[in-house]
């Protein structure tokens, strides 16, 4: 059985950035395990631009952004295996993996970084009634078919879900000659970036119907049409508002779910709100030496933040290994509570003596907030009270906590992050 200091599960943007950061921190024994035929992860099929504004001060397409990190991994001579699926990881960090050439094999890792990304919610999980014909795809699967395989999933398209993937595919399908009839969104607001509404819908005259959902699917063999209905404040279809659309394709962009089969099999504590592992200030899960970053931890909007988060995880994994399997004195564990409009925070807990001088705490809000304040409290003392013109669930937010401030706070027992009205 071979062994490595750091094994990274996933060679997408998170895994690549984590690997590069760990190597630069001084750890040589690193292995990336990637299941696809190439490094780059989901970016390989995200051929649109808008990536890298923060990281490189340039607007790059997904594959170009990925290549910047693939180049780093190659230059740093970091080892990786492609076409390799991780089957299982034990709590003692023994990895079972498989590929055609090496067969079934085991690796003992001193430290593991989980970077498996996420998957899409399916029609079945949405419980949309109707027939089950061909022509119903999650937006990402359709994206793969068009951008990597060269196939058109269909020619008359309805899209459910106005998250970025749905919006991007509305444009993509239109550019390749399909007619996108409508984008329907359950919520009263779009989940995607405003720039995508402009460039993907407005540019092509594709209507966006907020507070609508698909209530029926027709077609026994291939999709023939769908029924849209308006929904009430609770998301329930309103009888009498049904509209029929003929189409041969339904693309679903209704939520991304971190891919945590492996996280569950190792047995790390999970956060139900994110469906990702609970991590501390070092992005370490409940199992020492197992770190998580990127979409597997919580679904991101901008890959730049994935790379930043992953680099932190990489550095911490390196420190863990270099210190002989520890991140140093634990000290007191301070929980971060997410309340009043804040759905969750990453990290969920902080060991003050282990945190960086400036600790980024990322979070999402549960509704659209206008002219409100992001507030952070140490016990009952408010230390952050920042006005924000607009915050929406579709846009990840962050605050920064100063180690100096937390360390100086006598008797710190909890941190709270919340939204406060004007």
């Amino acid at each position: 059985m071979s062994s490595y200091d750091i094994v990274i599960i996933g060679g997408g943007p998170a895994g690549l950035a984590a690997a590069a950061a760990a190597k630069r921190e001084g750890v040589d024994s690193i292995l990336i395990l990637e299941r696809d035929t190439q490094l780059g992860g989901i970016l390989n099929q995200c051929i649109h631009n808008g990536f890298g504004l923060h990281t490189f001060k340039e607007e790059l397409t997904g594959p170009e952004y990925a290549q910047r990190f693939i180049d780093q991994v190659e230059e740093l001579k970091i080892e990786y295996k492609l076409n390799t699926m991780v089957m299982d990881i034990t709590p003692t960090k023994e990895i079972t993996a498989m590929n055609r050439t090496d067969g079934l094999f085991h690796i003992q890792a001193k430290s593991i970084i989980l970077a498996m990304g996420c998957r899409e919610r399916s029609r079945g999980a949405l419980n949309i009634p109707g027939y089950r014909p061909a022509g119903i795809y999650s937006a990402g699967t359709a994206q793969r078919l068009v951008n990597i395989e060269g196939f058109m999933p269909g020619r008359e398209v309805v899209i459910l879900g106005s998250g970025d993937i749905g919006l991007i595919m509305a444009r993509r399908m239109t550019l390749e000659g399909a007619k996108v009839k409508v984008v329907a969104e359950l919520m009263p607001y779009s989940g995607g970036l405003k720039r995508n509404i402009v460039q993907c819908l407005d540019d092509f005259g594709i209507p966006l119907k907020l507070s609508h959902t698909v209530v029926d699917i027709k077609g026994k063999e291939r999709l023939e049409g769908i029924t849209l209905a308006a929904v009430d404040g609770k998301g329930k279809p309103i009888p009498g508002t049904e509209e029929e659309y003929t189409c041969d394709t339904l693309l679903l962009s209704c939520g991304l779910i971190p891919e945590n089969e492996i996280s569950r099999s190792i047995g790390v504590d999970m956060e139900p709100v994110t469906s990702g592992p609970i991590v501390n200030e070092s992005l370490e899960t409940s199992i020492e030496g197992v770190f998580a970053c990127g979409n597997v931890l919580h679904v991101h909007d901008l890959v730049d933040f994935v790379s930043e988060e992953a680099a932190t995880a990489g550095r911490n994994a390196a420190h863990y290994v270099q210190a002989g399997g520890t991140l140093g004195e634990t000290g007191t564990e301070i929980p971060i509570q997410a309340v009043d409009g804040v759905r969750y925070t990453v990290p969920k807990k902080i060991h003050v003596n282990r945190m960086a001088d400036e600790q980024i705490v990322r979070f999402r809000v549960g509704a659209v907030y206008k002219n409100c304040y992001v507030s952070a409290y140490l016990n009952d003392e408010r230390i952050i009270h920042r006005k924000r013109q607009i915050m929406a669930p579709g846009e990840m937010e962050e605050i920064k906590l100063k180690k100096e401030q937390l360390a100086a706070f006598d008797g710190l027992t909890n941190i709270t992050v919340k939204i406060e009205e004007a």
Partner: protein, 481 residues
């Protein structure tokens, strides 16, 4: 000219075909779909009933109990998944106890072994997640769960290997009497045969009524189901029934042989035999009724839902016999629940009827053993490693949710009566049945089917007919190439 033509390649037709292949007979199974197991056989509760809830003295009761007994040895012979997990029929109030006891009395009459009534405390010890409102239950240890696709496909494959011909995409339009048997007019030419076995599921009355004055009437009775993620697999270990009512056995909550939880079915009569759609009301009813038995059914863990039509005949009884006014026409009609359970026994009965008519010789080459698609996860690690060395395709995972390899998918395509579509691959390997519902594996499975069958990916369908997965290439340059 065939000796026997069987209309329908579901569990009834496939069981009959397999049993008949024990004889030296020229047999053909015709089905209007592109594959076996494409009708009700693929959309049901997957339960092997104990038989307690059949009306005593009926053919249903007799064949249910026989089929239940046959299922375990058959599952070993034909290599499909079966588990005798036991069943519980819940009683929710003392007022209902007489009904519970009346049902319990069937056990002895129907020859169902091992049943007993258990009280609240023992019930909740057995199944901690059952509702507090359940005050008692009948426990039937012989109840089981099966993979319906596995059962159907295994019987069909074994029939095929023993010489039975299968014609798919072949819809029978008309049946006329001839001097020496029957003429079936289909969309794919005429077929002549001595004997017809009518195993046409929801359409069996159509064929019966073409040849007989004693009409039967089948109503498609829709049953909708929700399937829950494998993480819910420990919710219950027995199959949990509710005391049956007028329309059927009620909503059940059951583990599946694959480790999911299944809830359903509804029971609503309608007119459209081909209507396999789910409905908003139906799915809502499944969920609310299931929570009656198991209040904390994790409904947010639904990964898919589906619907199947039971072939409910007016008299609610199996019709398995040669028709009095249509000699050599054998019905296996009205096969609603407990049809799946009874299928092995139905096959034997049908074969017996046909054998009496044709007096055939035994087939000395009959081999009743069949091996399914090899599941490498069932191998020891050493053997699995060796397998990958010999066949690297087994080292390439295609369906990540269910951990299905390229090797298994290739097997599913290349074996007798192999898969030709994505659903065909799905039912033989489970690729696409996991929580992402084929989102990840579809493009990869399409590639494999294309390569193995030597067809363009443009021709690949979800389940035959016009259910093409893609409509064309994204660029004209690819077409031109």
């Amino acid at each position: 000219m065939y000796d026997v033509v069987i209309i329908g390649a579901g569990v009834t037709g496939s069981a009959s075909a397999r049993e008949l292949s024990r004889y030296k007979l020229n047999i053909c199974v015709v089905d209007k779909e592109e594959d076996v197991c494409a009708g009700t056989s693929k959309a049901n509760s997957a339960i092997v009933h104990s038989g307690i809830d059949c009306t005593p003295g009926t053919l249903m009761a007799e064949l249910n109990v026989k089929g239940n007994e046959m299922m375990e040895p058959l599952s070993k012979e034909l290599d499909f998944s079966f588990k005798r997990n036991g069943s519980l029929i819940l009683c929710f109030s003392e007022e209902d106890r007489p009904n519970l006891e009346a049902l319990y009395a069937h056990a002895e009459k129907n020859g169902v072994p091992g049943c007993r009534i258990i009280e609240k405390e023992e019930l909740h010890q057995m199944e901690p997640n059952i509702s507090d409102e359940a005050i008692a239950a009948i426990y039937c240890p012989t109840g089981g769960i099966v993979c319906p696709f596995g059962l159907n496909i295994a019987m069909a494959e074994n029939a095929y290997t023993n010489g039975v011909e299968f014609r798919f995409n072949t819809a029978v339009r008309k049946i006329t009497k001839t001097d020496n048997g029957w003429l079936l007019t289909t969309n794919n030419g005429d077929i002549r045969t001595k004997v017809v076995v009518n195993a046409a599921g929801v359409n069996a009355d159509i064929f019966h009524n073409m040849v007989s004055e004693n009409k039967i009437h089948i109503t498609p009775r829709r049953g909708e189901y929700c399937l829950l993620d494998k993480t819910t697999g420990g919710l219950v270990s027995n199959t949990i029934f509710q005391l049956p009512g007028k329309y059927g056995k009620g909503i059940l909550v059951t583990p599946t042989v694959h480790g999911n939880t299944l809830i359903g079915p509804t029971a609503d009569d309608h007119e459209d035999r081909e209507a396999t759609n789910t409905t908003a009301q139906g799915l809502a009813h499944v969920i609310s009724a299931a929570t009656r038995s198991v209040p904390n059914v994790p409904v947010r863990q639904v990964i898919t839902s589906f619907s199947g039509n039971r072939a409910h005949e007016d008299h609610h009884e199996f019709i398995i016999k040669e028709l009095e006014d249509a000699p050599f026409f054998v019905d296996a009609a009205g096969i609603e629940s407990p049809g799946l359970t009874s299928s092995p026994a139905i096959g034997v009965k049908v074969a017996g009827i046909v054998a009496d008519l044709l007096k055939p010789e035994k087939n000395p080459d009959f081999n009743g053993t069949r091996k399914g698609v090899l599941d490498p996860k069932s191998l020891s690690e050493e053997d699995y490693a060796k397998l990958i060395k010999e066949q690297p395709a087994y080292g390439n995972i295609i369906c990540r949710c269910e951990m299905i390899t390229e090797g298994e998918i290739m097997d599913a395509i290349n074996r007798p009566l192999g898969a030709k579509s994505l659903d065909g691959v799905k039912r033989r390997t489970r690729a696409g049945m996991g929580r992402c519902q084929a989102g990840f594996c579809s493009p990869r499975t399409m590639e494999i089917i294309s390569r193995e069958l030597g067809i363009s990916q443009l021709e690949i369908t979800k389940n035959g007919g016009s259910s093409n997965m893609v409509v064309g290439y994204s660029k004209k340059s690819i077409e031109e190439a």
